[in-house]
Symmetry: C2
Subunit: 217 residues, 2 copies
């Protein structure tokens, strides 16, 4: 059976990527990252819950010794509220985050004999996050292909798909969205007001349903 | 003054890259990696010595929690002896090492406001190490450019230059090669017999001089 590594943040996108990889009959291992952001522990817990739900191995890589010094409001500073399109949301960029994650996942995949790395990069994040754009993904896929001598290929099934369509696909696949975690705030119950919460709730609304996670108020 | 990050392994190539960057009037910070290989502590010490020699800040990033599980004879297993061209030397490949290093250096550069990352990738390693080839470097440079929105550019001044020519340039620049460390064996005094030692000694011999580091026997 072909082995694949799935990048598992604990959010709704990576949960759907996991379901998609499972549906294709791959032997999947989940990998998450602790990089020191305020909301990271809540995400990591959700990633572990999703791995248990799907009965796959899950491993958490601690990058916080180097990344917690990176300049980002997600790591040190206030998490802005409001829609992603607002300029303030650019403060939530974490420098080179997806470049770093994709690289480490490529190394883990090569070491584990997995030929694919599945990422949750999707169309909703293109404007603010340069390392979520198709131009980046294609260049990074090429770098990983060259740097691993063709052993590892990066996959991003939702590269051109928005969050509404991701939820639609996830509902077909039976993704347990109640286990996922999207909020940027460092609190157990999702705030409902940060850019991540706002976009998520819209994605469910666009599918005519209520987001199954609990929100404040 | 333009800021640059130099990847500082402690070997002769990265020492020469550091000297090259300094000669261009850049404000340089050195970064090294501890990834769990047998010889890593000796390399890291040399990197620190070189940073002190050039009076630049140096920071060591610990990747060993994730990379010490990677499949490589440099991390767990015997270090083969003989010339690099021999098939056994392929066991010294560390999966995706330069992909991972370049990615983290790009994130550090962005965070520190440095617009360049200088790497010691050179022509001697192309055959065995896929992530030292020009095709990889160019793809990775493109991925970093895209993923940092043009903030960070990867530099590899010796991409097409072999070790003999690197030493030649380094001698012009006054590189203190006695401080550098190349040997793959986990011992204070270089073995002189592993692939890394063999190539290094050849590089000095090609310049009609003796390598200034001490060797066994």
């Amino acid at each position: 059976m072909m082995k694949a590594i799935v990048s598992l943040s604990g959010g709704m996108d990576s949960a759907t990527v996991l379901a998609e990889a499972m549906s294709r009959g791959l032997q999947v291992q989940g990998v998450g990252f602790f990089y020191g952001s305020h909301h990271n522990p809540y995400e990591n817990k959700a990633a572990g819950d999703l791995a248990r739900h799907y009965d796959i191995p899950f491993r958490l890589v601690d990058l916080s010794p180097v990344m917690r010094e990176f300049q980002s409001n997600l790591i040190s500073g206030e998490v802005p509220e409001g829609h992603y399109a607002d300029e303030t949301m650019s403060k939530t960029v974490v420098p080179a985050r997806n470049i770093i994650f994709a690289s480490l996942l490529a190394g883990i995949a090569w070491s584990e004999g997995a030929s694919q790395v599945w990422l949750g990069i999707h169309a909703g994040d293109h404007a603010i996050y340069p390392d979520c754009r198709p131009e980046f993904f294609h260049a990074m896929r090429d770098a990983v292909r060259q740097g691993t001598d063709g052993r590892v290929v990066l996959m991003a099934p939702f590269l051109l798909v928005d969050k509404g369509a991701i939820v639609k696909r996830g509902l077909e696949l039976g993704v347990p969205y109640r286990l996922t975690r999207t909020c940027y705030k460092p609190q157990l119950v999702a705030c409902g007001k940060c850019g991540a919460c706002v976009e998520r709730q819209e994605a469910f609304a666009n599918n005519g349903m209520k987001d199954p996670v609990e929100y404040e108020r």
